[in-house]
Symmetry: C2
Subunit: 489 residues, 2 copies
């Protein structure tokens, strides 16, 4: 897919530059200096976001002229943004990612010369590719009862396909041999399972890359035990949040963790670390993460040589023992500007020891933008789950619901509490909360519940019990679109 880049009249790629908050301006300035020294054909359009914007009363933390700039340039290099206490329910970082649907969060980590960790010498060099839009991060939450909260975990086939294709393309662009997909499909067969099944399907189109599924908890275990076995790890949003932060600790911390947020239209490059206001203006922060984010940005706009030169410069400076406070403590630490100078002196010089990977431009995957990405041939509504709040004993609730639907086309199959069937009784010693799910299924094995029938079921239960949530039970192409409770036949 063609890269979306805005070229200036002089043929340079225009990049929206957001200095950000706290130590942001210092590390962004360091990154800007090395990009310019490397001779990259870049022009900057500087824009604001974050704390200063919130305090002006813009609740999103991102002003209109920043949004306008990003819509034009399609490429952003940004420093960390802060949300001042009392302003904004959502962070400006999240606003930018959501506004521009940057669905893919790319988080490379590698061992750096001179940066000692418990894993030094093992050659850790991997990329976490994290889905960045859906999953629990949609943030759709409801108090189902006064004491029971719910968040919706949403995983789509389209979202899964986009992130998985991106992961395989990252593997190809970086000459990597293996992609692991980390899910909890053994427990969440529909949601995490959708990611796993999509992975297995897409993997067949990339026979040159080894594809392997791994249970996410085992992945965390293996990342600590033997991180050098991993190359690319693709995963859902929440899992990826945890795994990617885990991996950055393997190689020396957030000072060395760059990231790219890739969308079909826009890409945002940023260091993973925060704005560290305590260190702002003190010229002590490690700018490596920001410089390497700029390297990812340069590759995105096709400046492969400048990207390579900067990566070599960073590795060279580290090899020569130019190390910042986060690595060596206060004594003998290079300042932010001294480290930047050292990188500039070594631009494009091959490091003595450290290997530098060869990169090809990343081929952004094309995935249909049809909202109805999956189109079944047949479908029917075979039942309805009605979630009820009650302090009645479950036997009373169950018998009451049975009576209420006695004359209807559905029957009560079971009542469950947080996933465990408790009516009809199974002998489970469940300590219930006031949140029950009544599963009502068609009496007939054929046909379809009508809209009116579904509403009538809800109405009749609602006449005696307080419901707060209803789910239709769909069957698509003969396959039930719902899982069974623990203990349900």
């Amino acid at each position: 897919m063609e890269r979306k880049v805005h070229l200036t009249p002089s043929g340079r790629a225009l990049v929206t530059l957001i200095p950000g908050d706290g130590i942001g301006p210092e590390v962004v300035s360091a990154a800007r200096r090395v990009v310019e020294a490397a001779g990259a054909k870049i022009e900057w359009e500087e824009r604001a976001a974050g704390a200063s914007v919130f305090t002006q009363g813009i609740a999103s933390g991102v002003p209109a002229d920043t949004i306008e700039s990003v819509r034009k340039t399609r490429v952003v290099l940004k420093g960390p943004l802060a949300t001042p206490v009392g302003f904004g329910e959502k962070s400006a970082n999240v606003t930018l990612r959501k506004l521009f649907e940057t669905y893919g969060n790319i988080r490379p980590v590698r061992e750096f010369p001179g940066v000692r960790t418990p894993y030094s010498g093992r050659g850790v060099d991997l990329v976490v590719v994290r889905e960045n839009v859906e999953d629990l991060y949609a943030g759709i939450e409801h108090m189902e009862t006064p004491g029971v909260a719910q968040c919706l975990k949403l995983i789509s086939r389209k979202g899964s396909e986009k992130i998985i294709r991106l992961a395989f393309e990252v593997a190809l662009a970086e000459g990597r041999r293996r992609v692991h997909c980390a899910t909890k499909a053994n427990i969440m067969k529909l949601t995490e399972g959708l990611m796993k099944r999509t992975f297995e399907a897409v993997a067949r189109e990339y026979p040159q890359v080894e594809a392997q599924h791994i249970i996410v908890d085992n992945c965390a275990h293996q990342l600590v035990k033997k991180p050098e076995q991993f190359d690319v790890i693709v995963t859902t949003n929440m899992n990826g949040d945890i795994l990617s932060d885990l991996t950055s600790a393997l190689i020396g911390g957030l000072g060395f963790a760059p990231s790219a947020n890739i969308g079909a239209e826009v890409a945002i490059f940023e260091a993973v670390h925060g704005s560290a206001p305590k260190y702002a203006g003190r010229n002590v922060i490690n700018p490596t993460a920001m410089m390497l984010s700029a390297v990812l940005m340069l590759r995105h706009v096709g400046e492969m040589d400048a990207a390579m030169a900067i990566e070599q410069g960073v590795l060279g400076a580290l090899e020569d023992g130019v190390l910042t406070r986060d690595v060596v403590g206060d004594a003998g630490a290079a300042s932010t500007t001294a480290f930047t100078d050292a990188v500039i002196q070594r631009l494009g010089r091959k490091p003595k020891q450290a290997a530098v990977r060869q990169y090809r431009p990343l081929n952004l995957p094309r995935v249909s933008s049809d909202p109805d990405f999956v189109k079944p041939k047949k479908r029917r509504v075979v039942g309805v789950d009605v979630f009820v709040e009650t302090s009645l004993p479950v036997e009373q609730l169950g018998r009451s619901v049975e009576e209420l639907v006695a004359a209807s086309p559905v029957e009560l199959k079971m009542v469950e509490s947080r996933g465990t069937k408790i009516y009809p009784a199974t002998g489970a010693m469940t300590d219930t909360v006031d949140h029950y799910r009544c599963r009502l299924v068609q009496r007939s094995a054929e046909g379809d519940l009508s809209e009116g029938q579904v509403l009538e079921v809800v109405r009749s239960i609602g006449a005696k019990h307080r419901w707060m949530h209803v789910e239709k039970l769909n069957e698509f192409d003969g396959i039930p679109g719902f899982t069974k409770a623990q203990g349900e036949d």
Copy 2:
């Protein structure tokens, strides 16, 4: 709270012993030998579960006489259980945990002498206390549309209170100074936030223990960077699954990872590792995890001295270089029985170097079993979220819903796609799926939507659009029981 133990006529605690599958019988036999050699006042009632039970056609993997035994003894020591391919949708492990509501999963890890890891010498010694019943593990999943899957993440105040109190009691029983609560409350303010707020409330009752909240991704980062800073970590089910498997890798792997599953009525003790059928009958497996699970079991039934003697024996054997295949490879490895003999020889002997913690009996928390654990004074229904499947452009959907509810007591506040508001338009470049949420709120700031009004809203939208999911919007004691979408005012 009084411990539930079944005493035999000779005054011994009766324990249900489940040898389990694969290498299970070998490690369980090793644990049994050390328990008996330590002189613990235990009698065993051996029962089956797992593969052999599934293949007899019992879909839960747990036969009635095993359930009956557990109901009597209230204490289980069990080996790993396997689910043979093609049998059972749920594992027998999960069946046991669900049947007996073992809400608290306790996962201690500590550095062991002679077991080299990248963290050796740093004194890692921590306990993860994982909620074991609710969260995404309720497994309540629906295909919302043909291409969008949903899983419900459920967190209750009662469930949070139980696990958090358990964590503080673990800290007191083990003389630990600090409890971290790891959540993603910054993103999931209602669900993960409920865990965080409960932690902050309960912590005030334990002033002698330092209480600290940590964002779960940072917790994973810090566990890799500086694991020795942690003492007790309490967390939700999914987070805890990942974090506890991460921690077991810090100290030498699953061969050293015991666990307790604590319920108000029943407690189940087991090694974390699987049944490893490949090694079954070869006398090569490290029985430490199972022995240490027995140590946890002994403390649970009040056999503190026998527990201490075994822990000392294990540490002594490891200090003397008696190491199994998982630690030293095939050459020079002690067999399962040789390791067990070595432990028995050293029972109750103080290790030369390794510190052994002093334990007090764990005080099991008492939490009201009222299902309606939180009782608001005032409540009202202020709106309804209707989830719609459509391939219409969102402007068309939005205008249509506005027309459909024009004469009703509610108005369309917004339409969102996976958490981001897209109607009325905000400028977001969202790549939508065929799953939209229409948020309908009362026009009047006062009063309450009636049951009939809610159903009429659903009916009127359903007349033109396909809905699959409805959530009432509740307000409890004046506080909205629902979050806003990204971009919603």
